[in-house]
């Protein structure tokens, strides 16, 4: 089941370090040298159009991630472990890291940097909604959840301000090619499960460092049945397993989503049939149950139903991971099915302006025309807040919904390390929007099947 590597690729296991800028030295275990004249091309004028990666010219089988990086580095072929200079298609930064990044750019390149802020909301969701995510491209961002965009079949990963300043000035970055872990998810998605449960299952399986320096590829019939926002939730949390990037092959669902969002041409890539993966995991989704990640680690996996005695103080539904339109529709579905009011303060923070508007305008299926906002109001949730990252990462003391006391919170966010949402002794249970809504209704960590079945 696991695809084995041939001898020449075994070198990757020794290459644990991330790449470094080193024009004249080679990795000890590789005989190929990276020519220093290639490095000087950093300041070369604009490149000629890249040649399409016609599969006929590919000499060796490559995974999706390897193909994207090969094209972006203008190589016909590359292997995991290689350090390559990659042409970056899109660079993203946000209000937290933007000033720092632009400061570095100005300091190092002395150009007149221009930024036109037009506040949309959480960067990763805004990128997707504004049509900046396209199959086959390389997207870097000054945020760890940039991997969110892998849902579009592109290479997307997080970097720091200094690297980003470098990309701003040169359009390139030196990246090490990651080997790929493949996750094959098959089976019909039960109506009480969401993509959040799938990724919590996987992180719980491989641990918070299980995918360090690796790419995570998600395929299978279940994946094909997920909409774009669900695919984003899946790729969003690969970083919680240490993953460098996550990818879902682009298909009709992707193209349909992009139809009205971008007019730029793009060229999807797909893993070759005999591409090499360092590990393959097969998951029968129909056998899974709703999960939580208990304090204080995203890999501290447990069945939601086994935590039913955990009394909670609050529920938070928001963030790039769990604050998209589909996430709120899911939560609304549970509140609708129950018809009761929440027992604890329930905070709703839409990721973007668009999501906020959807909450107030989209009819919830089976509700007789009610919007999410109406259902939330009837259930006694807090009024949906202005779009932002909100309390997902704590932030300044006065951040909406920040945990300033040592309370227990069920959250649709992505991390639950100590102090993540504010108070160091706060206890955060990561969960899907279904599980979060169910927990809000009962005042305890609750399996959503209690309401959905």
């Amino acid at each position: 089941m696991a695809s084995l590597l041939n001898a020449s690729s075994s070198a990757i296991f020794g290459a644990k370090k991330e790449l470094c800028v080193a024009p004249c030295s080679s990795m000890a275990h590789r005989s190929r040298r990276h020519a220093s004249n290639k490095v000087l091309a950093v300041m070369a004028p604009a490149q000629s159009p890249r040649t399409p990666s016609a599969s006929g010219s590919v000499k060796h089988a490559m995974t999706m991630t390897e193909k994207i990086l090969a094209r972006a580095s203008e190589k016909s072929h590359l292997e995991p472990g290689e350090n390559v200079w990659v042409n970056v298609d899109v660079l993203m930064t946000h209000d937290v890291c933007g000033p720092g990044t632009i400061g570095i750019f100005k300091k190092e390149f002395g150009q007149n940097a221009q930024a036109n802020p037009d506040y949309k909301g959480v960067c990763h969701i805004a990128l997707a909604q504004e049509g900046h995510c396209r199959p086959g491209e390389v997207l870097l961002g000054t945020d760890s959840h940039t991997c969110n965009a892998g849902a579009f079949g592109q290479f997307a990963t997080g970097i720091g301000n200094t690297d980003a300043g470098f990309v701003m000035g040169t359009g390139k970055l030196l990246l090490k090619v990651p080997p790929t872990l493949r996750f094959v998810l098959d089976g019909e998605m039960p109506n009480y499960l969401l993509a959040k449960d799938l990724i919590l299952q996987i992180i719980g399986e491989i641990t918070v460092a299980g995918a360090t320096y690796k790419s995570m590829e998600f395929v299978g019939s279940t994946i094909q049945g997920l909409n774009m926002e669900e695919r984003m939730t899946l790729c969003n949390m690969v970083v919680e397993a240490g993953g460098k990037n996550g990818v879902v092959p682009a298909d009709e669902v992707t193209f349909k989503y992009l139809e009205d969002k971008t007019s730029k041409n793009f060229e999807p890539v797909y893993s070759d049939d005999n591409a090499r993966f360092i590990q393959e995991y097969r998951i029968d989704v129909s056998k899974l149950e709703p999960l939580v990640a208990k304090p204080h680690s995203p890999d501290n996996r447990a069945l939601a139903r086994e935590c039913k005695d955990v009394k909670i103080d609050r529920v938070y539904i928001g963030s790039c991971t769990g604050g998209k339109t589909e996430d709120f529709l899911a939560a609304a579905k549970v509140f609708l099915a129950s018809g009761k009011r929440v027992k604890v303060p329930t905070f709703l923070v839409p990721a973007t302006q668009k999501v906020w508007m959807d909450i107030y305008s989209l009819p919830v299926p089976g509700s007789g025309g009610k919007t999410c906002s109406q259902i939330f109001e009837e259930a006694g949730c807090d009024t949906p807040a202005s779009p932002s990252c909100g309390a997902c990462l704590g932030g300044p003391r006065d951040t909406y919904a920040r945990m300033n006391d040592p309370q227990v919170c069920v959250s649709t966010t992505n991390r639950n390390f100590p102090g993540r949402m504010g108070h160091k002794e706060g206890q955060i249970y990561l969960a899907s929007p279904y599980t979060a809504a169910a927990s809000a209704l009962s005042g305890y960590v609750t399996d959503p099947r209690d309401f959905l079945m």
Partner: protein
């Protein structure tokens, strides 16, 4: 002047003075002392076999934070040694614990905010698990130039402020079992701290906060003087010269990859 001071320092082979010679400035100041990296660690002479000169830590100047080696000295990783008390942490120390989000409004390129960022390093650690504060109450710099940690150090957010805060606080190296990739990249790109890997799984369990250790980058060795144990380190490799130069931009200019800024 710098050359003479360096040569004199190099003769006495104690690790701390060797380190000083490594950080000689070029062009910015004629005297060694004005460019010495900030360190105000305690010297414990009791069980150490080495003679520690009583250095008075000079005032740290953030403007000259990254001092490239002077052209007349041949500096390489073999001279980079760090010595002093270590601060010990376990596995999966994430960047929120290193520097919580509420401090991210501080911009590291501003010297006073850089210092302030350093003063908050590791403020996110739960006090129940870490009773010794990384930075003593009222202080702005750490007494621990070396950090020893378990696996997956620096996981979580991509915030570059994490290695910057550690460097600004006065730490020189982290010795960990393994690193999260973004933290590793950021440490190298900023040149703020050496992210060294140790081959020994569970190293952190054999060390206690306050143990006096020496990190010999050139020899790939960690010596815990308090316990008497030695550990093999993975070579810092290509990352070394980048950090020594002061980060990727300094390195890129030094090696001619990019032109110096026009202003």
């Amino acid at each position: 002047m710098a050359t003479t001071a360096m040569a004199a320092a190099a003769i006495s082979a104690t690790p701390s003075t060797v380190k000083n010679s490594f950080y000689a400035c070029n062009n910015h100041a004629p005297f060694l002392s004005s460019c010495r990296p900030r360190l105000s660690f305690h010297h414990r002479l009791s069980s150490s076999p080495l003679t520690l000169p009583s250095l008075s830590a000079p005032k740290y100047s953030p403007i000259h934070r990254h001092c490239a080696a002077s052209a007349s000295s041949k500096v390489d990783a073999s001279i980079a040694n760090f010595h002093g008390p270590c601060y010990v942490l376990g596995d999966n120390i994430d960047t929120d614990q290193i520097i919580p989000a509420e401090y991210l409004t501080l911009v590291p390129s501003k010297p006073d905010e850089y210092e302030k960022l350093g003063s908050y390093a590791f403020i996110g650690l739960p006090s129940a698990a870490y009773s010794t504060p990384f930075i003593a109450s009222g202080a702005t710099k750490t007494g621990f130039p070396i950090i020893i940690a378990g696996a997956n150090f620096g996981c979580g957010s991509s915030r570059e402020h994490a290695p910057v805060a550690l460097g600004a606080a006065g730490s020189r190296a982290v010795i960990a079992e393994s690193y999260a990739r973004i933290f590793f990249r950021n440490s190298v790109a900023t040149g703020e701290i050496y992210p060294v890997e140790c081959e020994r799984v569970g190293l952190w369990k054999e060390c206690t906060t306050g143990d006096i250790v020496t990190v010999e980058l050139g020899e790939n060795r960690l010596i815990n003087h308090t316990t008497g144990k030695e550990y093999k380190l993975k070579p810092i490799g290509d990352a070394g010269p980048v950090i020594e130069a002061g980060g990727i931009f300094a390195y890129a200019r030094k090696t001619g990859m990019i032109a110096a800024p026009s202003n």
